[in-house]
Assembly symmetry: C2
Homo-oligomer: 291 residues x 2
């Protein structure tokens, strides 16, 4: 039987990793200027992660490439995304494909087939309901994968719809969280996190605490730390008493922490990845979440 996403993550954490994730969002103007400056965008991106991925793999357990920044360069960019996923998994990293897809029936199956083959887990839009999540869960049974459903995104206009109050006095995010919990019922090991996780931004710490309570078996992927203004402290309520339950992401602050013309850029990326891990460990310890 294939190991589940949560068991593979748990193994990483037991081995000393902090529950963090490095976002891979390639922007051409933030790539090292000496790295194939004359090459096509997709080739420059592939070369960049060819150096970054093995360098950070000893220090973080998970990476999250956002496919938009690859797809931006068409078929060649898509091939670069495939390459980054493969390289990261070969280096022992867990990969969350930040694809934010959401479609139904055979369409969702098509997405699930390719994206849960490329990555260990993916992010999903819930707006179309269970029809849009089920095909991914079917595929997770085969691959040991997981999904992270958008429950409260980190951006400021998230509240336009996600913060809407329902007739029952809840916010839409609460209703989505209740469905996330329901969709995960009977899947995975009882008394452990299951394959249906959630995305909740660090920029909404109050909601984080409340939403954690509504979906006790969901791993929570936490974006919004760093450039977007959230801190690792804002993410702490995602975690249980063993320091498990959340995966805190940082993107620009790590893989884009250098000036493009800095010859020491890779050292800076590694240093930033290590500091982020340490910061996360310290925050969990300070809270008394882990010893």
């Amino acid at each position: 039987m294939v190991a589940s996403f949560v068991s593979r993550l748990r193994h990483k954490l037991t081995g000393g990793h902090a529950p963090v994730c490095v976002g891979l969002d390639p922007r051409l103007d933030a790539l090292p200027s000496r790295l194939l400056p004359a090459a096509a965008p997709a080739a420059r991106i592939a070369a960049f992660y060819g150096e970054v991925v093995p360098a950070i793999a000893p220090y973080v357990p998970v990476v999250k490439p956002n496919i938009a920044f690859f797809e931006r360069y068409g078929a060649a960019g898509f091939a670069a995304y495939e390459g980054v996923c493969q390289a990261a998994r070969s280096a022992g990293l867990l990969v969350i494909g930040d694809i934010k897809r959401g479609d139904i029936g055979p369409t969702a199956s098509a997405y699930a087939d390719v994206h849960l083959d490329l990555a260990d887990a993916v992010t999903l839009h819930p707006l179309m309901g269970k029809d849009s999540v089920d095909p991914f869960l079917q595929r997770c049974l085969v691959t040991g994968g997981a999904v992270f459903v958008l429950v409260r995104t980190s951006n400021s206009s998230a509240t336009e719809f996600q913060g809407l109050h329902t007739r029952d006095g809840e916010e839409l995010s609460d209703v989505i969280a209740a469905h996330v919990h329901q969709w995960g019922e009977g899947l995975g090991e009882a008394h452990d996190y299951g394959p249906v996780g959630a995305v909740v931004g660090a920029t909404y710490p109050q909601e984080m605490a409340r939403l954690r309570g509504r979906m006790p078996r969901a791993l929570i992927l936490v974006p919004g730390v760093g450039a977007q203004g959230g801190t690792v402290r804002d993410a702490l309520s995602a975690f249980d008493a063993h320091g498990v339950g959340g995966i805190v992401n940082q993107s620009r602050g790590i893989a884009q922490c250098f000036a493009p013309d800095d010859p020491q850029w890779l050292d800076r990326v590694v240093t930033a990845a290590k500091s982020f891990s340490t910061e996360m460990h310290n925050a969990l310890r300070a809270q008394g979440t882990i010893k």
Copy 2:
């Protein structure tokens, strides 16, 4: 100044086209069995649309490739999607890229840059709010493109969230529709449809009538006719007194209307496209919508 999506559509309708759209959702087991049977999936898909697209272009104004079925085959599939979009536009068709993307800020800009370059319009997930739509609207100003925001999707579990009642007694779909209307304000020609359209499934005819009222300037893309159980009649309330305002899609019923071993498959596709147009024209006439 570049012509807007709505003006290009209107030109097609004035020229005698019905307001219909053919969905391009390639499934390997539904392709003609004699067409490159030994080739790779993406090559078979490209060959299929290489014949379908020019054959239907005289009879319908719009096609809607769903990228999931292309992306399913990785970078090669993505290249096939690019090729189908280019071929369709060369044949004079308007292309709605059914991408259902939804992400924020620079991420949304990355999607907008590539997808509004490939297609004339795209479908979008609204859950993340204005942040996720704005970068596309900025791009539309340059390309003359349009977006179709998911307001009420055609699937049965659409109601799980979209049908949720808010504190103000509306459904989530109504709130999204109100935002669609607001996002379109000041864009496009006054007193005409604008670049911010909506997706409303034919499978929800009552909601269609109500939602049309809430977003009078939105073109409505109507999926769900045919295999999903909706009819062209269910879509009629999307249209104004001149037979404009809606674009009714059919996918499987046209581009997959044949048995794979039928040597006359292309004739059947063309016949199905013509019938769909005639059916739509007749329904609009019967309703007295157009003369």
